[in-house]
Amino acid sequence: MNEAEIKERVAAFLGEHDPGGDRLAFLRARFDAGLAWVWFPEGLGGLGASRDLQQVVERELADTPQINGGVQGIGLGMAAPTILAFGTEEQKRRFLRPLWTGEEIWCQLFSEPGAGSDLATLGTRALRDGDEWVVDGQKVWTSGAHHSRWAILVTRTDPEVPKHRGMTYFICDMKAPGVEVRPLRQITGEAEFNEVFLTGVRLPDDLRLGAVGDGWRVARTTLMNERVAIGGAPVRRGGGMVAAVLEAWRERPELRTHELHQRLLSLWVEAEVTRLSGARLREQLVAGQPGPEGSGMKLSFAKLNQALSGFDVEFRRDLGYDDWTFRRSENVDFYGRGPGYRYLRAKGNSIEGGTSEILRNIISERVLGLPSEPRVDKDVPWKDLPR
């Protein structure tokens, strides 16, 4: 299928469905027409087309009702590709459509208090009981759990084998008895995330995704899609976090010093070369030559965001903070909030979605080919691991 054919399809679809009518009906119809994600198979919201063609569809449908990329982020970016790769036909038909239209919101139950960087050491137990599984454990850093219908969930089903081998992946019903969601307050004063306590939660076996014991492989698919999503958006020169700092710099000449000036110039240059790298990476992707540079973008942006937001606070010499009230913010809002909030929130950039330490491990081993460290956890049954 090529660009012209796709445009034809979109035109035909628009001929039949009025974008000015009911939003949900329009989105459902768009899904059914295969224009949700064109690279998905037919019947599942796609046309089995090349992924590049999605941008054609988006351009053509720019003025029609849109899905909500924010609150649907986990579903679209992580759950959907995993369900597509590992789901049964029935699971795909059941879950993908309302996931895409936003009728059902998804969250991710992966991290645990004891399993962060080393996710594979997680201990949330799932025990088989006939046609059901009984799940007990605690998950953490779950965004959107409080308005999610479903979750992707990784559990430990066999503690007797080494950690990578004893996991199983489920779709968790967030309305099931025993699922308790508690807001998790951050150092900014707000609660973007949740802790989720699972106590005797019963999940039917048909919510299992992939084979029993194959959870790690399924989870890796999810995580690979997460890393691609972070830190890839195009910015203009002098945009992003640097813009917030520059605005203050230009407006407050009385606060400028030579020391801060030199630091700001250095940060400006670092932001610019990082922006250029991102632009180059996107050119490579378009040219079908994805480079390994992507692994480094999140690391670079975390460092830059932290340096720039720290600079900003120091430059303004303002000992105030905008608001410490416990709030349920739905996402990271760097630009609508004060410099103090930005400084604190940016600290999470080097932890969430893979710490900078883990990313450096990944770069050094997978990109640079450096040998791994001696491993002490590969062949030990999970239950015998030191913790």
């Binding site: 991290s111 208090p113 399993a115 962060g116 960087s117 080393d118 050491t121 953490v140 850093w141 998790l184 307050r185 951050q186 150092i187 004063g189 010093t257 030579h258 020391e259 801060l260 932290q306 720290g310 606070v313 120091e314 010499r317 303002d318 000992l319 105030g320 903070y321 905008d322 608001d323 410490w324 103090g340 400084y343 604190l344 600290k347 999470g348 080097s350 932890i351 969430e352 710490t355 900078s356 330490e357 450096r360 460290e373 491993r375 002490v376 956890d377 030990v380 691991l385 030191p386 913790r387």
Partner: protein, 350 residues
Amino acid sequence: MTLLYSEVEEELRAAVRGLLADRCPPAAVLERVESEPYDLDLWKTLAGEIGVAGLLVPEELGGAGASASEAAVVLEELGRGVAPVPFLTSSVLATQALLPTRDALLGELAEGRRTAALAVSFVASPYQPSRGASVWLDGGRVCGTVTGVAGADVADVLLVPVGGELYEVEGAAVAVVPSFDLTRPVATVTFERATARRVGACDLAGVLRFAAGLLASEQLGVAEWCLDTTLAYVKERHQFARPIGSFQAIKHRLADLWLDVVRARAAARGAASDTSAVSVAVAQSWNAAVAVHAAEEALQLHGGIGMTWEHPVHLYLKRAKATEMALGTPGDHREALASLVDVPAPEGGQ
């Protein structure tokens, strides 16, 4: 001049540390910061029983007649505990401003019966002492506003420097603002023709310099807590079936951080035993940055738990970042060194 701690100082440290461990460990500080950050019961014990409030006051004026060195040790411990008590603001800043006047108020402050605050912005510096302040006299009464005043909300007495003179002022309006540092909130202080008693002459830049030198010890304490707490955490936290403190990248970062803290200790001791402009500028510019760096490393190496409100590391990060701006930024102090130690700026510049 010595850079070591004396026996007397070590005893003082032990007393303060013991009291804080008992009465306000970091978890307790965290619990109170959103209601009443200052712990005035604790302050009464510290000031009166341990006698820290009078350290800088001469014996003949009712104090302990100790030196900056002892006050510095107290500040190390208060930093280590992010303790919400007005020692720096009352017993250092306000007391140091009062000292040349030998005013009777000194005795009351020394005994801890009253607490004072100097109405200067906490971001004022020896190089720009009136930053954040706009105050003037109108027929013997004080008018104007000072923003970012630390300790004003718990002070019984407000001392206001106006045009080289120090006034004790009644009836100021003190409005606490939501503060970045939860453990030492700042307030906007407004004077509308407030009644004022002239206390004496005030070398405000000198007072701020003295306090800046001692603040380096508080920053040392903050950095030490961050380093110690992180060391304990990485020894205990396991990932990949190893304590994360056994990973070499983390070990090397902590070794570097330790080296920074070792030098912060020497710098703090230097500024405490020699309160000259050079020593103060060296200690402030180094220690302010080390405290921030230590708190940032602590947060990062604690991983997710460090991002949560329930773990006290954020109190230290906020304290460190706020004191980076307080009494001169590291950049201000380095800039001052340019002329103090003859490292001249480019010609035509400055």
